[in-house]
């Protein structure tokens, strides 16, 4: 009887894992689109000028928008792509990918906190694209916290 319960628990844990990492992959895709847009805007010089009513120049045109000459958004592209990759592999049952996903998300979470601090207390201005990105990272961090421990999920690789 006990064996049967364990066998039933494994596919249920596996399903939860698939659903959770599918959601994480979708969120990271949204973040990837956001970061790609901002990277292109930085490369074309759009963030270094004022035009129309985007209202993000104060943030995206600031020195904080670049690290060693590299647009922060480009680092975001790498971060979201890494998160997407690890989420996909974790969803397919790769145990190590779960750890890398969590590490990537927490690193992005730390950077997001820093950028929110800069926007709120240094620049006194917010960019909606950066806030979207912050929301995506917070959602992914929530998923990491909510993810079941490895022993609950079946078919680990």
């Amino acid at each position: 009887m006990k064996r049967k319960t364990e066998k039933q628990a494994a596919p249920a844990g596996s399903r939860a894992r698939i659903v959770l990492y599918t959601i994480a992959a979708i969120i990271s895709l949204a973040g990837l689109a956001d970061a790609t847009y901002l990277t292109v805007a930085a490369l074309t010089g759009e963030t270094a000028v004022c035009a129309g009513s985007t209202g993000c120049q104060e943030v995206l045109g600031s020195p904080y928008a670049k690290i060693a000459g590299i647009p922060v958004a480009a680092l975001g592209v790498w971060g979201y792509f890494a998160a997407f990759t690890f989420a996909i592999f974790a969803g397919f049952g790769y145990a190590r990918a779960r750890k890398f996903f969590a590490l990537t998300v927490w690193a992005m979470f730390a950077m997001t906190l820093w950028f929110l601090y800069v926007q709120a207390f240094v620049l006194h201005a917010f960019c909606r694209y950066c806030l979207f990105s912050a929301a995506f990272v917070f959602l992914m961090a929530g998923l990491v916290v909510a993810s079941p421990p490895p022993r609950d999920s079946g078919n680990e690789k």
């Binding site: 689109a33 292109v40 000028v49 129309g52 104060e58 792509f81 996909i88």
Partner: protein, 219 residues
């Protein structure tokens, strides 16, 4: 097949991201503007503000908006831009207040009014320096008046000039010139009548100045 599926998904998403980014880049890359030779309109001498010698080899013409943060960043870097060029470079400033900036038009009028008392560049620098304060203030006019006092301007005359048709006409004339040239963002910089390709920063502007000073012989 299932074993390779995650690799396929990741590769497809990677390729799509690169492709979409490249397409977006091509779509967003602006066409560079040029000032036609016959555009030496009378207004060029009527209201423009010039720093440097009239016979300088290179003319830098900026269309700027006092409420635009990248313009403020650029204004603070003019020392670096002009370093080493002295007599070879002259700088022209033109107003291009953007409609999305609520105090930009008024700031342009303020700079012009200061210009009527011979302190345009001082007010130009002060407006950019204090931009984070007045741009967020509901009492921008009071701050502008305090800046006029700081610069030692005749305050009564300044207040009258800010609202005068002459000052409004000067700003409108600059804006019209920019619009006629196709300017739609600030800062837009022309070096010897050719737009500096974005991103506009110290490096790209100095490179454009160097190119204007040392033109490559045409093949």
């Amino acid at each position: 097949m299932k074993r390779y599926l995650p690799f396929v998904i990741v590769a497809v998403v990677g390729a799509l991201t690169l492709g979409a980014g490249a397409m977006l880049y091509r779509a967003k890359r602006p066409a560079l503007l040029e000032i036609p030779k016959n555009s030496a309109t009378p207004d060029k001498t009527a209201s423009m503000h010039v720093r440097g010698q009239a016979n300088a080899a290179v003319t830098l013409e900026e269309f700027g908006d006092f409420e635009c943060p990248p313009c403020a960043n650029l204004a603070s870097a003019y020392g670096q831009i002009e370093e080493g060029y002295s007599a070879k470079l002259r700088v022209i400033f033109r107003h291009f207040p953007l409609p999305g900036h609520p105090h930009a038009q008024e700031a342009a009028l303020v700079a012009e009014a200061a210009g009527l008392q011979g302190r345009f560049w001082e007010m130009h620098d002060l407006l950019y320096k204090e931009q984070p304060i007045w741009s967020k203030s509901n009492e921008a006019r009071a701050l502008f008046n305090s800046y006029a006092e700081m610069l030692g301007l005749n305050l009564e005359r300044f207040k009258t000039d800010v609202d005068s048709p002459e000052v409004k006409e000067r700003v409108a004339s600059d804006k019209k010139r920019g619009t006629d040239l196709g300017v739609n963002s600030t800062p837009t910089i022309f070096i010897n009548d050719r737009q500096v390709p974005p991103p506009v920063n110290v490096g790209t502007i100095r490179a454009a100045i160097e190119a204007a000073l040392n033109p490559k012989p045409s093949p």
